[in-house]
Symmetry: C2
Subunit: 413 residues, 2 copies
């Protein structure tokens, strides 16, 4: 049991008892005995972030080939470097990504990349939560689709090493995956009761190409293919018309909004407020560092808010509470994880922030300060599943993780 | 004399000698004696930032009245609190703003607020550079205009306390200032050879109202009034048509781009790339915390880049080098300050960043990392005019500055 003394929660100072992996008690004063008592004077507790779309192991590609057209960037910069990746690179790369997530207050993420057992090992060791999907991409090759499906079954048959890690599936996109693969993965997702992720309508070109090839828009296509539902996550979902938003709502499909990536790649700007008003399940993701170039959900919240206000040409769009909610509880909720709020009975996933930090003063509105003014320097402690993954800004093995990452980079770059 | 040993500059490791307030020598190895030798192993040197539009003393308003319409926000939240401001509040408020600027790597700013001697005192003591204009706003009252002009003369007649601080003038905007005041201030600016600042075309409403009242657009009006030129700074300048951009270029007028503020207030999105292509003098500003809510030029650079790419719907817009340049050398150049580049003969205004910081790895592109991935935690040292204003993350009197600021906030909030 861990007892947090004198912690600032909403507008009060209180004590909070953590029992196992849960928030057990919250009261003005708690005189319970505990294994550890943490003096939280001048610190506030907030839910940690859930990053619902990223590609963790792409860390080595940060800053590569800036300001180039997609085609040049992929062919000159990304593909040749990705081709050098070996399975042993994924563990140190994932650890480095997780280090960045912890520093910026994230305790749960959804990944989308390769060599998933290596990423699972990194998540397990570093104490975070993650949804780790097996990759699906067949470039419309029937044999490849079948191979992928068989491998996915093998992946799902093995149990997850612990309750913090949820196995899942992803199909890359409708322009890289056949109907056979998408439907096959969707069947598996239902059979194994796991989440299915796919990039959808990130750029207008995808919509245009889909209309030409399939005679309907991407979300309509995926609806026809029967893959939409509360355990399906659409990443990006920038270019949806009213009918598609309605389909998303009707089926309870989850959306991962990635404003920085969309703006950086010139893909377009989601009309966040329109989606919020329609009542769809919105979550927030950073995407990978090759199109962000950060895994900070703090900075992502600011872009989400500003982008929403700009798109709607209204200060009333992208409100503080909505933005904070999509970055925290909506993400956890989407994956059936009871976290994202500081309440009794909830999982003990949270951050402590220094209320004397320059960027958090004055404390007129803590959530607004976190969205618009904070950076990693405000966060002192990060807890996941009842355990400290960062304590007084110290993350176990940080120097070793950075050294290993540099070593991998010298192999790959 | 200060000797920086083994510092990373561009792609090399070198030694740099600071003599007085200037960069005196740069070489692979320097064996000069010096008053102080700083071991810069694993640190890179970069020019510091120049924030060309802010309202420093508004710090107490951070996070107040989020997500409200302009009218409600001003009347319910901002004006009642600003009405409580007394001259003695401006020194602690300015010091707090300067603290935030130093932490985020800014060594020069242009202010626009009241009680200017108090701000000058704070800048002088904390060792930064600033352009501090005397305020002009008359709400079309002839007597007030005359009074302001007389007071401005008194302000300009007194010499600046030191070479780091440049006195200047500002007119708030064409919708708060009479032609008499604007022309009067412009005449004074020319006579005293100082800079003149004004908010211009921040929102479409200003353009529409100007067309109705004066029969021309704002920049055309200010051109007719004869105030444009290389010592005039237009803040915001979001809604300029091609003819106005041409007038800006022809006269050498300087623009302060404030992307965060423009997006946050739903004012619109400057087409940065169009302005860059036209060859106008572009600089970057954060605006005040009441519409940002941060004074970080690091985060401002990211928004400038993303906003440019989004507006142009092209990854080729808002390139890394251009964005870094508008945040550094363009700002200093605009005010005739030989800084913003790390070169012999330039003023010693610079930052040192920790090349082992999580957010600066891998070092594929340092400028890209600073724009897209860095935060305040990357900056270890800040020098202005040859002197350290932050050393190993320590800023003199920080605790006292924070305590004084909290005290002022309890008065005002």
């Amino acid at each position: 049991m861990i007892l947090l003394k004198n912690v600032f929660l909403n507008s009060n100072i209180c004590d909070i008892l953590i029992d196992g992996n849960k928030i057990a008690k919250i009261a003005d004063k708690l005189n319970t005995s505990a294994d550890e008592i943490i003096d939280c004077r001048d610190k506030a507790i907030l839910p940690s972030f859930c990053n619902t779309h990223t590609h963790a192991s792409m860390m080595f590609l940060r800053g590569i080939g800036e300001d180039k057209n997609l085609f040049d960037w992929l062919n000159q910069d990304i593909f040749p470097r990705e081709a050098k990746l070996k399975p042993e690179h994924f563990y140190p790369l994932s650890r480095y990504a997780i280090l960045e997530m912890i520093k910026t207050g994230t305790t749960c993420f959804t990944d989308m990349y390769f060599e998933v057992p290596e990423t699972i090992r990194a998540v397990e060791e570093m104490g975070l939560r993650a949804i780790i999907p097996y990759p699906g991409m067949d470039f419309f090759d029937e044999e490849e689709a079948e191979k992928r499906i068989q491998r996915a079954i093998k992946y799902l048959d093995k149990p997850s090493p612990n309750s913090r890690i949820k196995k899942a599936l992803y199909c890359h996109a409708i322009y890289t995956c056949s109907q056979k693969l998408v439907e096959g993965f969707s069947d598996l997702a239902q059979k194994y009761d796991v989440y299915l992720q796919i990039h959808v309508s990130e750029a207008q070109k995808e919509v245009d190409d889909c209309l030409q090839k399939y005679g309907c828009r991407p979300v309509e296509l995926l609806y026809k293919w029967g893959i939409m539902g509360p355990k399906t996550l659409f990443a990006h979902a920038v270019h949806l018309n009213d009918e598609e938003i309605e389909l998303v709502k009707k089926t309870g499909t989850v959306l991962a909004h990635c404003p920085t990536s969309n703006l950086k790649l010139g893909s377009g700007q989601m009309n966040l407020q329109r989606y919020l008003d329609a009542g769809v399940k919105l979550t927030l993701g950073t995407d990978g560092v090759s199109s962000n170039n950060s895994l900070s959900m703090i900075s992502e919240m600011k872009f989400a808010a500003l982008s929403a206000k700009n798109k709607a040409a209204s200060v009333l769009a992208g409100k503080v509470d909505d933005i904070f909610q999509i970055a925290t509880q909506n993400g956890f909720n989407a994956f059936g994880i009871k976290a994202g709020e500081i309440k009794v009975g909830y999982l003990a996933d949270f951050i402590l922030v220094d209320m004397n930090n320059q960027f958090l003063l004055p404390n007129n509105n803590l959530k607004s300060n976190m969205i618009y003014a904070a950076d990693s320097s405000c966060i002192t402690d990060v807890f996941c599943d009842g355990k400290a993954v960062m304590k007084n800004r110290i993350i176990p093995h940080e120097a070793e993780i950075i050294a290993d990452f540099k070593h991998v980079c010298s192999d790959l770059l």
